[in-house]
């Protein structure tokens, strides 16, 4: 099988890579670009552990072909913090104990940021439905919902 050359932007950096025609974006990120933050929990788009942003949309990287990323802007959990400064979502996930094993956390953070980018003041129900595609087996979601809402409040500048 011939490989395909792809140019894209990942977390703000220009990258070029060769991929097999049937290679997923997730495999490319993890195995070619060394970005192992996105996880493969199912490989079928059911668990959301591989969620990344592709041109402003949340996608399951396991359902996107790497070749489709030509010219695209991709961001992953590795791009969430600004240098030493964690994103408010990341801080609130730690403060609210919104992770136990942490393997779903990268995907949930990416998805939650996408929610807050378009809806800075979501209700509980809106957070729960937005994150319905991200499975967490440890927490029962309670603390995740709280962390997203308290991060949103901080980002809006509300007094806590």
């Amino acid at each position: 099988m011939k490989t395909i050359p792809v140019s894209a932007t990942v977390n703000g950096d220009a990258v070029e890579f060769l991929c097999a025609p049937d290679e997923t974006l997730l495999d490319t990120l993890r195995d070619r670009l060394g970005l192992t933050g996105a996880k493969e929990g199912c490989g079928s788009g059911d668990c959301g552990a591989c969620s990344v942003m592709l041109d402003g949309r949340v996608v399951c990287a396991c359902l996107v072909l790497a070749a489709e990323a030509e010219g695209a802007e991709i961001s992953t959990v590795e791009g969430l913090a600004q240098g030493e400064r964690l994103h408010p979502l990341q801080r609130h996930f730690i403060d609210e104990a919104a992770l136990q094993c942490g393997v779903c956390t990268p995907g949930i953070l990416v998805a939650a940021k996408a929610l807050l980018d378009r809806n800075p003041d979501p209700t509980d129900e809106e957070v729960r439905y937005w994150l319905a595609g991200n499975l967490c087996r440890c927490t029962g979601y309670d603390k995740i919902i709280r962390a997203v809402k308290s991060a949103a409040a901080e980002m809006r500048g509300d007094a806590r």
Binding site: D46, C47, L86, L99, C136, Y141
Partner: protein, 747 residues
């Protein structure tokens, strides 16, 4: 058991909620899980699995696969030892089939190749000649004489003759005169229940990276609940010395009991040994469902007698569990746990395990207890309803307490059942109004808890900060709890402690992270290691001061003269003692090695409101409150997290999750689309109330909290649904078609 004094003292740091030390790694994507490590020259492994539920392997021809370009090795069952130890032998056969495949998904061969694509292509070239055999999937069918036999000759001596060879074991617990007890009852209810097999559903599939060198040394990186268990098991399966196999536990993406054994780890090691190159093996989700451990599925009869005033006069249960294609002792725990919440004069439980053509059971959070307690608590609720009694009052009246001879034998010490029941009774949830088609249910839960083999080393750095080295993977925040206990004991800030999970060459054998044992037993060993280090620091200071070690004492993170007679010396802090250590005898470390007992049993009570749609049979959970005794909540956020997470796994078990088999014996739903675990939008908030009834077996009163919370949801929700639907549900999961059928049959 060591009984600790002063466990109810005031704490400065235990009970606070600091940031977990691995938090930043886990929110930035930096934490390394099982599949995240690569090595130069690495090969990829893929496993060929049986398409049949039961078949004899006539032959396996691997020549075409081996000839494919890029394939470096193929292994089959012949590449693994069959240890004499029965349990290890079963693990070996489960990792790679020998003469028979015993379930759909059973591994038969594995390939190592230069890429996953080549490995996958090679699997298609492995030719397996199968003789398909009749199969059996259901536990009750498997127990009938004449059922297809999964394995011959596996029954223990206590199984009476004349039963199917699938029946591997029998157990019996209890005391008192059942007949007299039932004769005293005003009402006796007898019901049969069934529960489906469910999967732990950890989001991270099993994954490892193995590297074996030609001189017999091996390194293994894997996601596991116990890397020492992985070392012992893999060493036995591959004929290695344990000391030559160093296992490093990666961060672990959930386990819940499912990662307390091995699957791909010995396979990757065998392939690495054959190729001389590092080999990475990562399971797909489908493989996880088809080939790793689900729970038992169960068929249970319960009979309970009660007086008009709500006193239980006798309880009896017959439990038939299947742990899949191998003998399995999980039914013993179910038979012991069934009536643990009650103080009974007459109680008897009987357990049977039968083999079926399903994957080998792996523990799932309080293994065996949820099914048994679901059946018992359903009957108790039915009795309360029939007799017009308050279900909480009845449980309070019959509750086991300190001094109760438990249904499974031991007499209880300090336990928190009554306190949790009373907290539930006082909570506003219990008296909140309900609307039409809504129902409220409750259930008690119980787990034994466990201590076990544990090692901790506490190393003092020259600047007076502290490293804790321990051997149990951190599955949900245990590094934070262990650091808190070390900081508390030493009187130094939490931030001055770093806890690491060491590889198998760097700390002594530590049992698997299971049985809710880590905060209890690693915490206990940490506190004792800190006390050991404090004794040594006292000796060093006494030497510096030229006085007896008995003449100094440890107070508030420093060594002081014990009294005015000891002399006038300025106290020395840990930092000062550490800085002076090169001149007082060298480095300072504390150790503790223990096979801990005194874990202290755990009780909880769950309260749930549901709404059942009478037109579709669909259930919505409206409100949920968990009450549980934590002994001492070291980091309350992670205690709450265990209570919430366990409750939600139980909600999934009660309402949706099940292994579904076709007539061909193949698993029909090996994916998260069709095996539906709860998602955020299915659920309400999970409210928590932590009780703290200190456990006298731990220096700070800690008892394990992780497993109990999965036990009550099954019955609590069944009781709520039954009251909402006006008909008793007796089979899990209570999926919409099943509930609708019951509603229609009710008329």
């Amino acid at each position: 058991m060591t009984r600790y004094e002063r466990i109810d003292r005031k704490f400065k740091q235990v009970g606070t909620r600091p940031a977990r030390p691995d938090g930043v790694d886990k929110v930035t994507g930096r934490a390394m899980y099982g599949a995240d490590l690569t090595a130069p020259g690495m090969l990829w492994a893929k496993v060929l699995r049986s398409p049949h539920a039961h078949a004899r392997i006539r032959s396996i021809d691997t020549s075409a696969a081996e000839a494919l370009e890029g394939v470096k090795a193929v292994v089959t069952g012949a590449d693994f030892s069959l240890p004499e130890d029965e349990a290890l032998r079963d693990v070996s056969v489960n990792c790679m089939a020998r003469d028979k495949v015993l379930y759909d998904g059973h591994a038969v061969a594995a390939v190592a190749a230069v890429s996953p694509a080549v490995a996958k292509a090679a699997l298609k070239l492995v030719k397996v000649d199968y003789e398909v055999l009749p199969h059996v999937i259901d536990v009750d069918e498997a127990m009938r004489p004449g059922a297809p036999v999964v394995q011959e000759g596996r029954s223990y001596e206590n199984v009476p003759g004349g039963m199917s060879a699938n029946v591997t074991s029998h157990c019996e617990f209890g005391h008192g005169d059942l007949d007299a007890g039932f004769a005293r009852a005003d009402l006796v209810v007898e019901r049969s229940f069934r529960t489906a097999a469910t999967h732990q559903g950890y989001i991270e599939p099993h994954a490892c990276l193995a590297a074996v060198t030609t001189d017999g040394r091996a390194d293994l990186w894997c996601c596991t609940q116990g890397h020492f268990m992985v070392r012992e098991t893999c060493a036995a399966l591959l004929g290695l010395d344990s000391s030559q196999l160093r296992v490093t536990a990666s961060e672990i993406g959930g386990g819940f009991g499912g990662k307390t054994t091995v699957f791909v780890e010995p396979v990757a090691l065998a392939l690495s040994r054959k190729t001389g190159r590092p080999v990475k093996a990562v399971m797909s989700r489908e493989e996880v469902f088809r080939a790793t451990g689900p729970t038992v599925h169960a068929s249970i009869d319960v009979k309970i007698g009660m007086t008009r005033s709500g006193r239980i006069t006798a309880g009896e249960a017959h439990l038939r569990y299947s742990g899949g294609a191998f003998p399995c002792a999980t039914v013993d725990m179910g038979a012991q746990a069934a009536f643990a919440a009650y103080d009974l004069d007459a109680v008897r439980t009987f357990g049977w395990n039968a083999m079926t053509n399903r994957p080998k059971e792996a523990p799932y959070r309080a293994p065996g207890a949820p099914q048994a307690i679901y059946a018992v608590e359903s009957v108790v609720d039915e009795l309360c309803k029939e007799l017009g009694l308050d279900p909480l009052d009845v449980r309070i009246a019959n509750a086991a307490r300190k001094g109760t001879r438990s249904a499974y034998g031991p007499t209880f010490d300090e336990i928190g059942l009554l306190a949790t029941l009373e907290a539930a009774k006082a909570h506003p949830h219990y008296t909140a109004p309900l609307g039409p088609n809504e129902g409220r249910g409750l259930s008690c839960g119980f787990w034994f808890n466990f201590g076990g083999n544990t090692c901790v080393t506490m190393n003092l750095a020259l600047d007076g900060t502290v490293a804790i080295t321990e051997g149990n993977p951190d599955i949900g925040g245990s590094r934070a709890s262990i650091s808190l206990m070390a900081a508390e004991e030493l009187g130094i800030p939490y931030e001055k402690v770093r806890t690491i999970v060491a590889d198998t060459a760097s700390i002594g054998h530590s049992d698997v992270t299971d049985g809710s044992r880590v905060t209890f037993s690693v915490g206990l060993a940490t506190i004792e290691a800190a006390r050991d280090a404090k004794r040594k620091m006292c000796e060093r200071v006494a030497r510096l001061w030229g006085i007896d070690p008995e003449a100094v004492e440890w107070r508030d993170g420093a060594v002081h003269p014990a009294g005015s007679n000891a002399g006038r010396f300025a106290p020395m802090t840990i930092a000062e003692i550490a800085a002076a250590s090169p001149n007082t005898g060298g480095p300072i470390a504390g150790h503790h090695e223990v096979n801990a007992d005194g874990a202290g049993v755990s009780f909880g009570v769950h309260l749930v409101d549901v709404k059942v749609d009478p037109d579709t049979g669909s259930t919505t959970v409206l409100r949920y409150t968990v009450f549980q005794d934590a002994g001492r909540a070291v980091h309350p956020s992670y205690v709450e997290g265990q209570m919430q997470g366990g409750a939600v796994q139980g909600i999934g078990w009660a309402l949706n999750e099940e292994y579904i088999y076709g007539a061909d014996g193949r698993l029909q739903n090996p994916g998260f689309l069709d095996y539906r675990v709860p998602v955020a939008s299915d659920l309400p908030e999970i409210d928590t109330v932590i009780l703290e009834i200190p456990n006298p077996g731990h220096p700070y009163g800690v008892r394990g909290v992780g497993e109990t919370p999965i036990v009550p949801p099954l019955a609590a929700i069944a009781n709520a649904v039954s009251r909402a639907a006006g008909v008793r549900l007796t089979e899990l999961p209570m999926s919409p078609p099943r509930v609708l059928k019951a509603i229609l049959a009710r008329g």
